[in-house]
Symmetry: C2
Subunit: 246 residues, 2 copies
Amino acid sequence: MNDTTTAAPLRAPLYRDIERRLTDALTHGEWKPGTAIPPERRLAARFGISLGTLRRAVDELVAANILIRQQGRGTFVARHTRDREAFHFLRIVPGRGPKAYPDVRLVAFARGKAGPDVAAALAVAPGASLFRIRNVLWLGTAPVIVDDIALSAARFAGLTERAFRERGSTIYRFYEEAFGISVVRTRERLRATRADAVAARLLDVPNGSPLLAIRRIAQSYRDVPVEYRISRVDTARHEYWADIGS
Amino acid sequence: MNDTTTAAPLRAPLYRDIERRLTDALTHGEWKPGTAIPPERRLAARFGISLGTLRRAVDELVAANILIRQQGRGTFVARHTRDREAFHFLRIVPGRGPKAYPDVRLVAFARGKAGPDVAAALAVAPGASLFRIRNVLWLGTAPVIVDDIALSAARFAGLTERAFRERGSTIYRFYEEAFGISVVRTRERLRATRADAVAARLLDVPNGSPLLAIRRIAQSYRDVPVEYRISRVDTARHEYWADIGS
DNA sequence: AAGTGGTCTAGACCACCAT
DNA sequence: TGGTGGTCTAGACCACTTA
């Protein structure tokens, strides 16, 4: 939650320690997305700390959308649902009218090599092997977004076009279930660009139309980058939303 | 911090109550931006609650950037500094190279009437009197952003072009000091557009160049809208950043 | 009824800042 | 040295879910 630039105190507070031990357990797959972690009283006993301190550590992970509390039921490891992927990570909404789920259509699946930018973004060596996936997202009755996704072939070993096409769930849920990779945050950079020939054709807009270009780095626990994605969005009838300070 | 859609429990927790009483005091000007609120132990006694509960209420306001804790010194009402306005609310950064403070140049100051969209955004009656302000923001050696600001003339009674031009501080700090209006959050919607003749001239780009258009509603305590702003950004060498899930 | 998370208390002690 | 926020504890009781 802190700025990455914040100086670490000489002795980290106990709840940070516990927080680290909890994400350790998550990273090592001790608790899977969608399942409950042990009850708070049990965890507090296991770590030999008070309930208040344990709750504080869990609070941090809840705030980071890594854990989800449900009163009376338990605390669960967050998992990607259709809603979460469509309305939390996908920040494109209609200018007017209700939100809709995107219809994701795979248009290209290939292997490639990482250029310097992608390599830096994914923390792999330049020239490392990649999967490159292109999707067109339909919202309502029109194509609105072209997504170009780059994945490290090493991290997603065994991925095939067929598995991706027939995944039967959202993309991030698929990463979770098939590769044990949980996307917990994204960093996005936006620019206004012009549609090139490919995007113009896929989005059915004139060549040179203004498109919103979003560069996204998706990260897992511990800020490990797992996906690099460039989205180009036709914002004639849709827009990107960002609330600051809430 | 909660979804606005969350059903309210039958009996609100005590700390929500305290949080409301604290923002009441802020709204009524009991504590001014930049000054310290009373120490936590004193506030807890004043409200007749435990320190833990008082801290929880303060925690919420700290998370919302309304209060700022400083260990050993006190808890202060957040105030707009150059850094906060330039790096927290202004989400435009250079594509490469270090961030810089914007140089804000006023190019137009006028009165006008609210159309339906602006009226809805500012929660004023359609046709209500407005101030309309246009600034060009320079970053480094080039004009990068055109800001068109709309303010309710009633809420900013007495504002003059001269006062705005000679404000001697950032814009949001000026709202705070001259009108007691504290901006604590913004809601932004982004689109890719083409530069019209005016923007092209002010930003020194060809007519029709792609520009990032940002519609911003700035809100004070209790989500009261206080400013409507449309920014048009030349993203050739700058970009907009958004981190999700952190 | 049993088990979970949610709220609230009372108090001890630590870390940091100003004087 | 005194005053501030930061951490941690131990425990009581409430609210909600499931069986």
